[in-house]
């Protein structure tokens, strides 16, 4: 068993009268692919937001690679090696796809020289390769605003991967992808993650995807983990079938 890379302990947060996190805890090991499932409003995205510093918990802690990151800013957490993609892709929509990736590259490399042209970054080939992995090489020069949602979701993930994080959170990576392409997308993503030995935590609604790509599943309900286990255990659990997947579906 590999070492623990992320440990969230008893995170609590209320907002607007809703218990968005109610003792959320999760321990993640470096070689894991964890799927987070649960109904809407269960606090899945809140959990990601808490772990990446977008919002701060009222109590509880998040430890990453032995360091307490609970109070750190998203920026500091990103620099420590946590990347994330978003439910609604967060991209520089007026820029080209490649520029989005190159900005991530510059951030990673710290290459901010005013004499450097962004589009002549010495490591630009690496970004083209990355774009190729997610199957979007042909979109490199397109303006993000003009691309469909599904592609944007992948670009969002590619941007996070360009940072070469040790751990990546992906918020519904396949939500904008047509169902017959989902596996293909997840295959390429998994290859990219494997190549970089990146730990991944992803929120997912499609149980087929969960079954195939997760090493462990956490079922979210009411701001905390109601159940966890292997995909086999979870996906056959009667309670999960009822609350998450919906009986008869």
């Amino acid at each position: 068993m590999s070492e623990v890379i992320l440990e969230a302990r008893d995170l609590q947060l209320r907002f607007g009268g809703v218990q968005a996190a109610a003792g959320a805890s999760l321990t993640v090991r470096a070689d894991e692919r964890i799927a987070i499932i649960g109904p809407n409003g269960a606090g899945k995205t809140t959990f990601i937001n808490l772990c990446t510093g977008y919002i701060k918990p009222e109590s509880g802690s998040v430890v990453f690679a032995g360091r307490d990151i609970t109070a750190l800013s998203p920026r500091a957490i990103t620099r420590l090696g946590i990347g994330r993609s978003f439910q609604i892709p967060q991209l520089f929509i007026e820029n080209t796809v490649m520029e989005n990736l190159l900005l991530a590259l510059s951030a990673r490399e710290g290459s901010w020289s005013p004499f450097l042209r962004l589009d002549r970054h010495p490591k630009i080939d690496e970004m083209w390769a990355l774009l190729d992995i997610v199957g979007l090489k042909q979109t490199g020069h397109r303006i993000v605003r003009e691309l469909p949602e599904g592609m944007r979701k992948l670009i969002d993930i590619a941007v996070a991967l360009a940072l070469e994080p040790k751990l990546i959170f992906m918020d519904e990576p396949t939500s904008g992808v047509s169902s017959h392409e989902k596996f293909q997308v997840m295959d390429t993503l998994t290859r990219a993650l494997d190549a970089r030995a990146t730990t991944a935590i992803f929120v997912e609604h499609d149980m087929d995807v969960v079954a195939r790509y997760a090493s462990r599943v956490a079922v979210w309900s009411g701001g905390r983990i109601a159940l966890e286990g292997t995909p086999d255990e979870i996906l056959n659990h009667p309670e999960v079938l009822e609350t998450v997947i919906g009986v008869g579906v």
């Binding site: 995205t45 977008y54 919002i55 439910q87 609604i88 967060q90």
Partner: protein
């Protein structure tokens, strides 16, 4: 400085703050609903003042009783707000909602430049004043010092009435509640079937009318000269930003702070009275970047 002087200074500060409040609250309301910072707001103040003064002078010339000035003030304010404000919103602003903020700002900046000159062409450059309403109300004596009832009582009362009236309007009437809904969440409000176009138009008219009302009230106490609008706009920016843009009660508090700060400065440090509004604004924003009365909202990701 004896304590009664502080009290006297405070009386001046309240009168001054009340006037700024009337102008600033209109600016704040417009921003809250339309999301546009109206640089031309000072021009509504100036035009309201000129129209009111001309009307009062004309009424005086016809031998009409002086008390008529007060309904005339209101009429002038509404006229300016509805006609000029309405035209600006319907012809110009409506075309740029959703465009970049910079462009919206600049459209109102252009309107400001045009109205400044229009006002000069229509009303001339000669200082104009109509002090009959102020004199008609007479004076009161406080600690042996004469104050005009107009500045000491009427203007603060009007400001208070506007504050209370706006609150009631926004909370109790369906139209007011629709305005609040748009302020809080534009998209949700529109999804609920609220006619945003109409809300925007009326809010702009109300905001412009308030600025014009401030101008109308000031026309009895001050000489109207070209350029009065450009000074007022910066002052009301300061009030609105200190309070937090879109905050109505906050604007009242900030206007009072600035009014009091200024008049006390005239006693203690007359060299710095003009700096007071800006210093208060910068100090407040340093501590609370979104203004005194605004809560920070995070973007949904």
């Amino acid at each position: 400085m004896p304590p009664e002087m502080i009290f006297l200074a405070a009386l001046d500060g309240i009168a001054y703050g009340s006037l700024i409040f009337l102008v600033a609250v209109g600016l704040s309301l417009i921003f809250g609903v339309l999301g546009v910072l109206n640089v031309a707001h000072g021009s509504f103040y100036a035009i309201g003042a000129y129209v009111a003064a001309s009307a009062v002078l004309a009424a005086g010339g016809m031998g009409l009783p002086t008390w008529l000035a007060f309904p005339l003030f209101l009429a002038a304010a509404i006229l300016v707000g509805v006609v000029i404000g309405g035209l600006v919103e319907a012809l110009l602003l409506r075309r740029i909602y959703g465009k970049e903020e910079v462009l919206q700002l600049l459209v109102t900046f252009a309107v400001f430049m045009i109205l400044e000159d229009a006002q000069k062409v229509v009303f001339g450059v000669r200082p104009l004043f109509a002090n009959a309403p102020m004199n008609w109300l007479g004076t009161v004596e406080v600690f042996g010092i004469f104050y005009t009832r107009y500045q000491l009582i009427l203007i603060p009362l009007v400001a208070l009435a506007v504050l209370v009236g706006l609150r009631l309007f926004l909370r109790r009437t369906s139209f007011g509640r629709a305005i609040v809904a748009v302020t809080q969440d534009r998209e949700a409000a529109m999804a609920m079937g609220i006619d945003a176009t109409r809300i925007y138009l009326f809010t702009f008219m109300i905001g412009a009318s308030l600025a014009a009302l401030g101008g109308a009230l000031s026309s009895a106490t001050t000489s109207l000269t070209p350029g009065i609008g450009s000074g007022m706009i910066v002052l009301s920016f300061a009030v609105a930003a200190t309070a937090g843009l879109g905050r109505i009660e906050g604007a009242a508090v900030a206007a009072l702070m600035i009014g009091l700060g200024r008049s006390i400065a005239v006693y203690f440090a007359p060299e710095f009275d003009v700096l007071i509004p800006y210093l208060i604004m910068v100090a407040v924003l340093l501590i609370k970047p979104e203004g005194l009365f605004t809560t920070v909202q995070t973007r949904k990701v």
